[in-house]
Subunit: 356 residues, 4 copies
């Protein structure tokens, strides 16, 4: 990806010489997601173009120099099928890491496929090989196929984090705004968390069909006014609004709507505002104070979310949910079309197979 | 208070006949607070004018019919010096009380001095007597003078609730926006909660002087631009913003400012938006999502906040803080002037002595 | 049940005259559970024998005097199929209710079928009719059959409370000790809460088979030594022990074992010690302090647990779990045999149909 | 300290050559605490004798090679007056660090003065110099004298952690068992946290006098039977027991007593069982389950506790509390006597000044 606004180009790059305790991953699948759309459009700040996109990938460890281990201290071996956490270099030395314990706000983080440039090495998955730098955290995909993992992909830790931050209680009605990959994984995790009912307001129909398979009761927002959507939520909730609403849309106004769809003393999680789409307006008396409402922004994810998301996929119940997500796989040469399909919402989940 | 926009008038009303398990309180002090200003202006919805204002009062139990007890089951006696929780009739039978356990959003609550009309009896403290209906919860003022209690008054449970909801940690820097009675009590409780530093942006100078006595480091917002205020907060916090900001102003824009004064992964409590003063604008990406911020509306208080606030006043450390609040006491005939003084900010805390 | 150690006798009692806002329930099913075994053995303190046992029951409202409503304020009608919360008279006026907000420790609680005697009226479900006193909280069984509800019965709110108190996280391994009704419901709720794996150590085989259907991986403790059980838990958990252990056995030593089966910085919930079976021994350095372990006693349940448990049964996923519990129904005349079967563990769940 | 059971000997060791990003600290004060008594007695497992004791020390950075920074990224300079976190090498790579986020149970931790042997270098404070290895976290003592810091010393992060884990609420009565350094700091932090009352059962009188200055109401356990102590606690708490009890004694039976001194639905924190003193006996029905009690072991501390403890000392309120602790300072040659004094309880806090 040469720069903002330009299509992705294929380039030949040399294979890196491995540092001590580094590895080379032969990529099986790499995700094409909404972030990649934003990256091509140039909507993210601080991206060191040109970059190799592809922040979430699976593959096989082709060569290892020195030792890399999992978090149980077990060494990885060449030939192991793994994925890795795209977020790298969380420092564990700064005030955010050590005192606030808010490592997703550590200023030293780097992200494969997003904040590493081509000059930093093979740090993106839309490539035949990814360079696993020393300290990058890999995880074995035991009992989880590449395709199942990719059905969730980057939305897995994001949605797990959001649902955890939502403090869902047994018997809650959770409302998910948006039916993109994060919305769908949020529906699945809400359902797995003990919500008695999961509602989803989203579009298009193709995604809502999957939302239903993942446990959601759905409403197509393109066919219903705000007033109708509100009525629908109230009807589903004994007239009081959702216990928890999780915003996964990216549209600023959806944050205010989320507050209004939620019952008094409920909670809203804002996880869809990944990039700057502008402002929204709200009434602090009616929307926050008198409602005794909590609104929780939710940024990124850490190793804990990633690890536990993979653990969850090993349970049959969870696997069933994500296996209903259709995948559109393309070769490396067709990646721009894949980005187009994601941008238009025509596919739910696209991926590249660089070695296919 | 005959109706919105009209001054308070003195009226003679008959003493009530006591129901079983009710009492008559001879009022010593009753508060004149910002809510009373709003009541006179007609800014609160659903007020059954004409009303007897005065929601927080102290007095002596003049007569009791049947038995009224404290929460330890001990009966009250005639002659006991008490205060009582103005919030009444929380039902403990509805979904909000029993399932959400959010009793401050119980739709059956009634509030002395605000949502009871003259037709409901002597249900306000700007009166020589208050009728303590069956079920109203009184508390003895053991070791706490009427004046000390009134120095906090209705702001005590409100501020205790807000600081509790703020989840202050040891070592935090808490920023309080506003130096009215709620702001001042919030400074005191934040300081008593283990904050290493409590900042306050407010005005006028007379209130900021008290804010300092209660444990605050202060800035007069009338003399500093938003940019200067931001710089001041950053300078006080190693450049990262307050760990927790508690909004006690009533100005909608202050909610957005609170979010911007707060560090990433911090928290904002909104407790000042007691009435509808309109909208504010914010950027959900920058102000919520990327910041990983929590914003918590905080409505009203319940018996627990009230009870523990009175318990706190019994500790010398806490008593010292509130004893620095100057009180302006007036006779019943001068209550309109007291409301004027509160409205103008010329006094910090005014009260009526109806039997003086 | 005439007294401790005596078998249950059939007696004819007059139908009560209804007070205002009371009702008469024609009983369809009433549970025979471990508590009833203890009641017949006289192991519970403070039981006002003779009593009518049967604390959890379903039925049809035969007659209503005045108005009784659900927590949404909707009136019940004669002919409605309902169940009701056996715990009654939680006072909402004492320190435990109002300040600690620990209503299960309210000293004023009375429990149908346990702490009401025959002299208090028809306050137990092993009877053709139950007198629904004013203030007893009923709930409609919409979409939930009597049999499905009874498959969980009194273990539903108990287990929901225990699992909630366990703070299960996504991806956790939960270990349940015991495979009686509370153990089984705890397995089901743990699985519905997002545990990646639920282990159960229990017996006999008939119950372990159901434990597996409810989501558990099981070990028969009668065939394995403590050392073998420990090895099994460690093998299932990467060598570190369960993240959360929930004790549902009633055996004092199981509490110490639970602590030793749990990983460092994990949690143990103690919910099985419903009656006094004596003491256990532990090493506070090794079992608590160095482990950084939390041990949480869990007593009773409140309306919130009851209400949400019924809500959960309306979700197909949950219904599937409890529908795997076999029920043994008897007539009123055979209730002593049903107690025997429960005492011996020969049946998982027994119930009486007093009007069959 | 050559080995278990032997007195400390003075030895001459060479000054180390500094690695990159390491430093040499000229020690001003180093603590002599209960851990050192245990170390000399050989009661701690896994200590690599011979060791240089002294895990908490203050001093001046004499020389720095490369760069060492504080958590704000600011470099330290030679001549800076600092202290450092004795816990070192928390790995931030294992399951406990990354998934459980329970870094005090990270198996890779090393502790200056305890788990480093003489062969590891100058890793204890009873020495003229301490070698600050790469990665050791120092903190400037701005506004905090060496003596004030040492008045708390290693008890500061321990007690802050324990009080934080106790979840003290405004208005609580906290009971502290034990009046050693951890007990005293626990009293101070409980008082700073918003407890309305802090009780302490301990001995000897010299320590109880300080406990009173730090905010405690005290009882000498050597003069009162268990029954009298229980009565005293009940009298102080409206007959219900302490809201929170924090065990700081090291005596196993104190853990069971703590449970019995605590009210239903309250909490016990166990922080005093630092070494293995054997077992205790409890009744899980009466002491845990029916009480709905939480018992929380509390192990060690992390950088967050250490950092915020130092921040707290900068507030005048906190400084006042710890300045009431008398210090007994000795030269290096008298350190065995200092250990004797600590062991006998004859002094509250002893320290070594190796360069005096």
């Amino acid at each position: 990806m040469p720069g903002p606004g330009s299509p992705v180009e294929l380039r030949e790059l040399p294979l890196p010489e491995l540092e001590e305790n580094a590895a080379l991953l032969r990529v099986t699948c790499s995700e094409v997601c909404g972030t990649d759309v934003y990256l091509r459009e140039g909507r993210l700040a601080g991206v060191p173009y040109p970059i190799i996109p592809g922040h979430v990938s699976t593959g096989v460890l082709e060569s290892i120099r020195g030792t890399i281990t999992d978090i149980y201290g077990r060494p990885f071996h060449e030939g192991d099928r793994v994925t890795f956490l795209d977020v790298h270099k969380t420092c564990h030395q700064c005030w955010f890491c050590l005192v606030a314990k808010a490592s997703t706000r550590c200023p030293h983080r780097k992200v494969y496929g997003i904040t590493y440039g081509v000059g930093d090495g093979l740090c993106g998955g839309w490539s035949q090989y990814v360079y696993i730098k020393p300290g990058v955290r890999c995880i074995r995909l035991d009992g989880v196929s590449d395709e199942l993992y990719m059905a969730g992909g980057c939305s897995l830790p994001t949605a797990l984090h959001a649902v955890e931050r939502a403090d869902v209680r047994f018997g809650d009605t959770v409302l998910v705004l948006g039916a993109g990959p994060v919305g769908l994984s949020t529906i699945a995790f809400s359902s797995l968390r003990g919500a008695a009912k999961v509602l989803c307001i989203g579009a298009p129909r193709i995604r809502l069909d999957i939302a239903e398979k993942m446990g959601g009761t759905v409403l197509d927002f393109t066919r219903h006014s705000i007033a109708e959507r509100t009525d629908w939520v109230l009807t589903q909730t004994h007239g009081r609004g959702a216990d928890v609403t999780i915003e996964c849309t990216g549209v600023p106004e959806a944050v205010t709507q989320a507050m209004r769809f939620t019952r008094d003393a409920g909670a809203v999680v804002v996880v869809g505002q990944y990039t700057d789409h502008g402002e929204t307006t709200l009434n602090p008396h009616l929307d926050l104070n008198k409602k005794h409402l909590e609104v929780r922004g939710c940024w990124g994810s850490d190793y804990s979310h990633f690890h536990r998301a993979v653990d969850m996929l090993q349970s049959p119940n969870a696997a069933l949910k994500w296996s209903s997500v259709p995948l559109r796989a393309v070769e490396l040469s067709q990646v721009n079309q894949a980005v187009d399909l994601v941008a238009s919402g025509a596919v739910v989940k696209a991926l590249v197979r660089p070695n296919a």
